[in-house]
Each structure stands twice: as structure tokens, then as C-alpha cells.
């Protein structure tokens, strides 16, 4: 009984650390924050609709159906700015203290992608994608019932997804409206 209580306290404190980080910066004018909850079928179609075929399409939809929420925090600032350094340092600490496991770490011409995975319950996991490129730092926090294998499978077909023409323009139009 005590062990169960301790387990829940530990897992709760982990989620809270990442949660508190997002809570701290989501209303900050210098950041962009987007959250998407359940019912992300539109994204599912975007993932697999244009280029995904057969099993690949099914796998992507299956993966998306298991996601409970996606939260994105983006900072557009110079890489040498104090704010950027502070944010990078803070998220490194969150990852370290939260017992996140590194799944992917790539560095290419000033671009950095780190994917971390952490079990946050019996059937629940947190995936944190940290991307850093010229003047942009993004954190994508995905929560859901997903295994490491499913995550790796989703990103293994990198580059095949979402390349439809005019998509970015459409997004900018919505933002301006």
C-alpha cells in the first residue's frame, strides 16, 4: 500500500515538473503555446492522408488514437540570448530529474532533435520532443498510452509525412485571421 502511494507520488511529481515548466511559460508573450486534446483525427489524416499507405497509415492512426494530449511550447529567440540559455538549462534539468529515457538524439548543421520517453503510470507515458534550430526552440510534450516501439515506428518513416503543397500558406492564413 505504501509502495503504491510512493509510486503515485513519484509519478505525480514528475508530471508536475514538466507541467510546471509549461505553466510557467505558456502565457509568456515571448513564447507560442498550443495544446491539442483528444479527437486529433484531423492530425491523423494529416499524418497519413497524403503519403501514408496501407500498414503505415493504420499504424499512424493507431498511434494517434492512443495520444491523450499534445502540448507545444515554442520560443523564437537568438540562440545566445539569456532567455534561450535559461530555457534550455531548465528543460535539461526537468529531463534529468524526471527520469526521462533518451530515445533519439540527432545533431545536424546546427539543428538538434532529442526525443525523450518516460513512463508516468501503468498505462501512461510522456514523450518529450525537444527541437532546436536557428532562432527557434520547441518543446513537444505528448501524453498517452504508447510504448517505445510505437513511438520509434511513428518516427521511423521520417520525411514521408506532411509535405503537401500549400499547407504552410493555409496555416499562416488561419493565424492572420
Amino acid at each position: 500500500m505504501t509502495l503504491v502511494a510512493v509510486f503515485f507520488m513519484v509519478t505525480a511529481s514528475q508530471a508536475q515538473t514538466l507541467q510546471s515548466f509549461f505553466d510557467k511559460y505558456r502565457d509568456d508573450e515571448r513564447f507560442e503555446f498550443v495544446t491539442v486534446g483528444k479527437g486529433m483525427m484531423n492530425i491523423g489524416n494529416m499524418f497519413a492522408g497524403h503519403h501514408g499507405k496501407g500498414n503505415n497509415k493504420e499504424n499512424n492512426n493507431d498511434m494517434l488514437s492512443k495520444m491523450k494530449s499534445i502540448k507545444i511550447l515554442t520560443l523564437n529567440a537568438d540562440a545566445t540570448s539569456p532567455l534561450m540559455k535559461q530555457v534550455v538549462s531548465e528543460i535539461d534539468q526537468v529531463v534529468e530529474k524526471g527520469n526521462f529515457e533518451t530515445l533519439v538524439e540527432t545533431r545536424d548543421k546546427g539543428q538538434r532533435v532529442n526525443i525523450y520517453y518516460c513512463l508516468s503510470g501503468k498505462d501512461n507515458a510522456d514523450m518529450l520532443i525537444v527541437t532546436k534550430e536557428k532562432g527557434e526552440f520547441s518543446l513537444i510534450w505528448i501524453n498517452g498510452k504508447m510504448t517505445k516501439d510505437e513511438i520509434m515506428h511513428t518516427f521511423s518513416d521520417a520525411g514521408k509525412i506532411m509535405n503537401s503543397s500549400g499547407f504552410n500558406e493555409k496555416l499562416e492564413n488561419i493565424a492572420s485571421n
Binding site: V34, I43, M46, V113
Partner: protein, 171 residues
């Protein structure tokens, strides 16, 4: 008389038994009291009166708080916990959570599900593209290995021809 004197001395030393005290009381009740013992009559009569007195004061137990049994305490706690859980459940159901799909850009909240979803999709695509770029060298290695496959076949053919030639020479 001598015996009564001894009994009185014993009484005041606090060494008399209940039977002896009863005997002393009887001695005063009978009325045949010697003059030297008259001084104690008032005392013994007072004791007798006090013994017969009744009081209307409430019992001592009325002042002692009743101790609740452990079972009762547990039941009360369980009931309270149940009520608290029910209230939490009701609040959970009654108050809908804030819309899940929204964005905060430049401090302004945008309650546009389509925008939030497209923004998310764009970010995920970007991650895919970045990963694809990073994995390109690995893909190139795979391509080189596939290109080398015919050479491997050629060397195999050459080895077989050499073996055949050797066999023919032996004959």
C-alpha cells in the same frame, strides 16, 4: 468498659474491623453509654446520619465523556471519505474542463481548434523533416550496400570459374 476503651483507641488509630465499628455504633444506639464516652456520641451519630444521606447530584459518570469505540470512528471516517469522494466526482462531472484545443500566441489566446491542430501537425512534420535530414547518411550507406550487391555476385562467379578451371586441369 475496659474493652470499649480499647476499642475506641483502636478506632482512632484506624485499626478497627468492620465488625468492631458496627459494635461501636450499636453501643451508642443502645443508649447505655458511659459518661466518659459521651463526647464521642455526636461524632458517631453524625457518621450514621451521613451514611443514610442520599444526594441528588448527578453521577460521576455523567462528567466523564463517553469513549467512542474504534469501529465507530472507522465507520465515521469511511463515511466522510465516501462523501468527499462523491463531492469530487460530482465536481469532476459538473464542471467541464477548459477547451482542450487552443493556442496562446503573443499572450493572446486563440480558441481555434483547426489552427491548434494544424499548428501541431506543422511542428510534428518539422520534427520528421529534421529527423529525415539527420538520418540521410544512414540511408546513403544502405544505398551503397545495395549498389555493391552486383559486385559481390561477380566475385562469386569468378570464384566458381576458378574452381571449375582447376578441376578441368586436374583431369
Amino acid at each position: 468498659m475496659e474493652m470499649m476503651n480499647e476499642l475506641f483507641e483502636k478506632y482512632f488509630r484506624g485499626e478497627t474491623s468492620l465488625a468492631e465499628e458496627k459494635e461501636l455504633k450499636q453501643y451508642f444506639l443502645k443508649g447505655n453509654v458511659s459518661p466518659e464516652h459521651e463526647a464521642y456520641r455526636v461524632l458517631f451519630e453524625e457518621f450514621s446520619k451521613e451514611m443514610n444521606e442520599t444526594t441528588n447530584l448527578p453521577s460521576v459518570h455523567a462528567y466523564i465523556p463517553k469513549q467512542r469505540s474504534m469501529n465507530r470512528i472507522w465507520y465515521q471516517w469511511l463515511a466522510l471519505a465516501g462523501i468527499a469522494a462523491a463531492v469530487i466526482m460530482l465536481l469532476w462531472i459538473q464542471f467541464p474542463t477548459t477547451p482542450e484545443n487552443y493556442a496562446i500566441i503573443g499572450g493572446n489566446r486563440i480558441d481555434n481548434t483547426e489552427f491548434a491542430q494544424r499548428y501541431t501537425a506543422k511542428k510534428l512534420t518539422n520534427v520528421n523533416k529534421m529527423l529525415a535530414r539527420s538520418m540521410k547518411p544512414l540511408q546513403s550507406l544502405k544505398n551503397v550496400r545495395e549498389e555493391m550487391q552486383p559486385l559481390k555476385t561477380l566475385s562469386e562467379v569468378r570464384r566458381k570459374m576458378t574452381e571449375l578451371q582447376n578441376k578441368l586441369q586436374l583431369k
